[in-house]
Symmetry: C2
Subunit: 560 residues, 2 copies
Amino acid sequence: MALRARALYAFQSENKEEISFQENEELLIFDDKTVDGWLQGENSQGQRGLVPASYVEIIRPRSNSNQTDSSLSPAGSPSNDSSFFLSALHSAFHMQQSNDDDDDDDWEDWDDSSTVMEDEDSRRGGGANGHSFQSPYNSPNAHYRSKPYPERHDSISSSRKGSMVGRNLNRFSSFVRSGVEAFVLGDVPMMAKIAESYAIEMGPLGPQWKESPQPFSCSIEDPTKQTKFKGIKTYISYRVTPSHTGRPVYRRYKHFDWLYNRLLHKFTIISVPHLPEKQATGRFEEDFIEKRKRRLILWMDHMTSHPVLSQYEGFEHFLMCTDTKQWKLGKRRAEKDEMVGAHFLLTVQMPNEHQDLQDMEERVDSFKAFTRKMDDSVLQLTHVASELVRKHLGGFRKEFQRLGNAFQSISQAFTMDPPYCSDALNNAISHTGRTYENIGEMFAEQPKHDLFHMLDKLSLYQGLLANFPDMIHLQKGAFAKVKESQRMCDEGRMEQDEADGVRKRCRTVGCGLQAEMNHFHRRREVDFKEMMQAYLRQQIIFYQRVTQQLERTLHMYNNL
Amino acid sequence: MALRARALYAFQSENKEEISFQENEELLIFDDKTVDGWLQGENSQGQRGLVPASYVEIIRPRSNSNQTDSSLSPAGSPSNDSSFFLSALHSAFHMQQSNDDDDDDDWEDWDDSSTVMEDEDSRRGGGANGHSFQSPYNSPNAHYRSKPYPERHDSISSSRKGSMVGRNLNRFSSFVRSGVEAFVLGDVPMMAKIAESYAIEMGPLGPQWKESPQPFSCSIEDPTKQTKFKGIKTYISYRVTPSHTGRPVYRRYKHFDWLYNRLLHKFTIISVPHLPEKQATGRFEEDFIEKRKRRLILWMDHMTSHPVLSQYEGFEHFLMCTDTKQWKLGKRRAEKDEMVGAHFLLTVQMPNEHQDLQDMEERVDSFKAFTRKMDDSVLQLTHVASELVRKHLGGFRKEFQRLGNAFQSISQAFTMDPPYCSDALNNAISHTGRTYENIGEMFAEQPKHDLFHMLDKLSLYQGLLANFPDMIHLQKGAFAKVKESQRMCDEGRMEQDEADGVRKRCRTVGCGLQAEMNHFHRRREVDFKEMMQAYLRQQIIFYQRVTQQLERTLHMYNNL
């Protein structure tokens, strides 16, 4: 059953799945159920396609006077499957909602779009976590533009309420989409019962997350190839053992991916570490499995080190659940969690110490400049290290092997005039040849011991750094609202109470961001120290081994 | 005054300087003085150009009945300067004959054709020493085809005598040109007085040169830029100090070149080490001077190590003469030496021990196969080592410097958020960056310590190996003559005495070659052992230095 809707703002489609419309244009909406913030509709010109839900207002259908609420009901009328688009969206949506172990899991790995985004577009235009929402209906054949976050009650309700402070006209701004605008403007209602609570305390360098009362670590080991459906489907299972339970659970990449998407959904102002890249082909190859394992370990280290993320209920479920039925129940529970996005901000306990907003903004600016430079240099080092890996496997190996071959060839020549064949010298030269061939192999092997680990860590940091621009954008938006409300207050168009409320909630956003900045810096110091030390140690061992090989070889000449 | 001549054999010109003619064709010769084995003449079709002297017989001019000798007089009538060719040849020829310190020395370095010939043509078709005669009139603009050796009295006289054993029809065969054919056939007359004498003795591995009674070494040091003509001309002077006199003499490259050409002229069956390459441009550049010095040192080492070459009078003159007037006199004396080419074989004293000719031939065949393989592998190692030098200066250096830069960049990023700027870590990372930049420089510098020396030695051996094919060819020619004369003897067409003489002289050639083979092998063992040891030692030092640098750098992280 089609619904009529009115466009609140003009919208320009950016790909063929979307349709454009003007402000106030009347649209047909085929189903009021949003999928990931989008509706299926038709504009006044008869073009059919996706419509951003937050841009339109559903007009109460004349035929159904019982429904008075113009807000979009998440549990709306049954889907209208006559539409190709909606049907595709729905089936994908249902897959996400009820994707159990028994379902086809091709989607988890088929999408080989990197979760580590390097292009400006996805880093700036993506979600609050700096990358596109990993929606499961990204088919392997159609790479969709980043979709906005699912629209939530709060932002819809705020648009109805029509607060006195101006709304951001760009409905696709992550500030709006994330719900942080609504939160700052006081449009996110306090929930009756809040079970969760994450405290920010004032540390020596500013706001920081209060440490988890029960810190733990978690190992990821032993990736093992498993089959089901009598060998038709194959997947890799990892043994995941949290230190505080000591009881292993077995998880697949798709479980990590499910958790990751929950994290993105819930923690708007937290820098969620990106999962290692998906890969379509070769995902059962030893090198790939090994690389994914190493990167999952780093991801897990970052998760357990984070005072907020480590305490997330969905994470706990991921780490502890061993029963299939419980697993499904826990998943559903996590998926129905209401304290997500802007609501999460309600669970944050602020420090008592006052922090000047200007100081806060300066710190954020400073951090912003830092992340840009760090992002550049991490990218630079990544390129250099990748190229060095290539050189190790190719050029370096080849050069040393060629040298080895040439020595061998000299040694062979020297055996060809038997009366003058100096066996000891020939053996020594031949051995020198083998030594250099061996050194060539050592060069080719070396990245496994040093550069790969460096690249793993750099990849994690690329992901973390990619999250910050949008997080900073949220805080900037909150600041703008504070200034705007204060101006209105000064002009007598707003009560001081209300302006103070905006200021207070902006401070929550800023404190959260600073706690994240603080956490990032602390991890960065530990991680980069460890990375550099590990690299240097392995390099030293490498060059020592080369030296030893050469010394043993030289020794063969001493007795000639 | 033109002379008439008759072509003994047909000749096909191979470039535009030469003229073709048929057997028995009558030619005009403008001057009976040969330059490097060539005459200037005109064929019956009126074409003017160069004629190979050994292909023609001068017909006694009717107008001058006093001259009865149809052989070419080396001190013939004055040159006919009306001819462009002859004029050019003569002026060059005179330059060679009387090229003193005061002469222009551009010719010495202008010709950048390598003395180390790698192309088949020059190695097979060149002189007995495996490369083209370094004639001084190779102008920078005209690269002449290799010219044959200067024709000598003996081969001309032998062609007159018309021995019963068949002559090689290919007058350009090095066997013929070198005069070894004439020697084997007994056509090189014993000289009245032979001052020189070089003994071959039977060593454990066959014939070998008797060691010099007064072995010595000779240093080459301190290449110094000198000027003359008030700074118009610049050249490099080397301090050359023989160990047995301890008195330094100062020599330029052109003096070495003069000596080298004397050696080629005199020692047909000896492998004369090639001089380091000539170079047209950049010859005053530090690297070039350094390289030439290193290679002259190796050349000198080989000279002084050789029992025959080290005792050559011209070499002694080169090493000891300090007086300008004496220098010129000594040069003239050396240039007038008659015991050159095949005549040199007259000065060789044979061992008493009998060596079976077949055994001799087998040894030579085995050596021939060996030199081919060694030549290939020396070339291979040269290519690999050259490429490795290029990699050290380019790729390796660049990779490490890029890594260093990337670390520096990381360190700079870390200073950008001052409250969180961990100075000690940043310093350590920055220092790591400098360390890798430094390691890059070390890689670029390293060839000076190892690969350059390897390439120097390989270059010397390329030269020595290039000499052998022609030397072996001479011995093969001698063998063929033995078989031919024995057959004639068996058929009663030759006295046994004469055949025995051929056999005996062939043995002289074979013994000389074997002595050279022996000397080569002995030097090869010493040189390659030294080369490999030096390379490995320098490589070990290099990797130790890299390790030390990395260890010091790692240490900076320990106290963080």
